[in-house]
Symmetry: C2
Amino acid sequence: MTYCVAVKLKAGLVFLSDSRTNAGLDQISTFRKMIVYEKPGDRFMCLLSAGNLSISQSVREILQIEQLPPDEEGGEPITIWNARSMFDAARVLGAAVRHVFERDGEALKNAGVDFNVSMIFGGQIGSEGMRLFQVYSAGNFIEATPETPFFQIGESKYGKPVLDRVITPDTPLDEAAKCVLVSMDSTLKSNLSVGLPLDLVVYEADRLQSDKITCIDENNPYFLMVRRVWGEKLREVFDGIEHPTWDGSHTEVPLRCEGARALPLRKISSPKEKLI
Amino acid sequence: MTYCVAVKLKAGLVFLSDSRTNAGLDQISTFRKMIVYEKPGDRFMCLLSAGNLSISQSVREILQIEQLPPDEEGGEPITIWNARSMFDAARVLGAAVRHVFERDGEALKNAGVDFNVSMIFGGQIGSEGMRLFQVYSAGNFIEATPETPFFQIGESKYGKPVLDRVITPDTPLDEAAKCVLVSMDSTLKSNLSVGLPLDLVVYEADRLQSDKITCIDENNPYFLMVRRVWGEKLREVFDGIEHPTWDGSHTEVPLRCEGARALPLRKISSPKEKLI
């Protein structure tokens, strides 16, 4: 399994990936799922991948040489290194996915294996604004918007509530970095097939490069602190919420609060009685 | 979709279910997913169901008349109303599931529909200890243990982290009730196909009946308070954790913390360069 998340903010982009891969439960290994493509001052792009490892690795290999026909007569073929927009770069990535499908799709199908790969690809090229895409197995893709400023791939559910609560386009970069680490913590806690080390990239808008690229392992004091404090404080908050109290005078008791309307619960109190 | 959760504690049992059912995204309706079977002083049982609604409704109907052959010569057939143990009652439920499979399985298969139903069934009979089971589509079942004191069916992931953090066999009943409501809140927040009203049952060990059976709708002040306070405090805790700080002196920067070991991230800094 895998958990990758990327966030697009006014202030920049944040990317986080785990590195655990499993083929079945008895074959677990570590593969990095993030690649940064950087030409300082010209373009900064980051690719996160989930799904079948053989597919995602092939896509990443092919992406280096993938070309789309030039826009105008006699122009250069379009690659991720000369694309004039992130949209074109995402098209190149989609084409790489389709090349792998042409190469391996039928054989995988014959082996009963789905062509399963999903990727998050974001960054900035030249003077264009930052963009963030989620790319599917068919090579098609969608783009993040202010209403939906983050994408997750792989084991996304455990870590989604905190993103839903915190992330907006106005969230500061470091706060978003903290948020994706908390999101990862919830995922690590509930799914053994997601594991350390983590790769974290924070990209500041319009820098066209990043020095905030780091790998977080089990000894990283900041992540250890986040996990410990989050767990402890969460427990404190939980303990701080008052317990429900009950009014024992009826068979069906709403938690003590006038507003509550108790719908009829289907309760069968003797063998012969029919469902109410 | 559905979210149901049940917890087995030394102090008793807690059951919670939502009531949203959807056939596709465009057909959403409300069906209660909990039934209580109670013969005060003799037995208290609660059944939660998820999966294909036509199957789970049929199982609940058949369960009323389902019989297993008597243990001894000339004895009475075993029903959920005379079973001497929750294990036997769970066997009766399993038999009901298999009856529905015999009746509908082939037709569903011909229609390309999986025979998909999962249930949580728990309670107490006579002097036997409380027991909690998860019943699968094949009518087989597993039982909760001190190491795994809760079961979830349906959309289980969003709400699992808080259960993992809080629930142990020693958790008091009201605290467990609060915990499953928080778990439900996370699920409601992240999955539109899980919805109010909720059915909540709290059973105290050895009472062989319960008056803590309630329906929680959108006006329930206790649940409203839990949702509001949990959301607010969670945010406070998050804001209380310090942001990561960065040391800009290298290309690969660990979050500022001596212990961190930065593994090589695969970074491609020029078109021709190979993957490191």
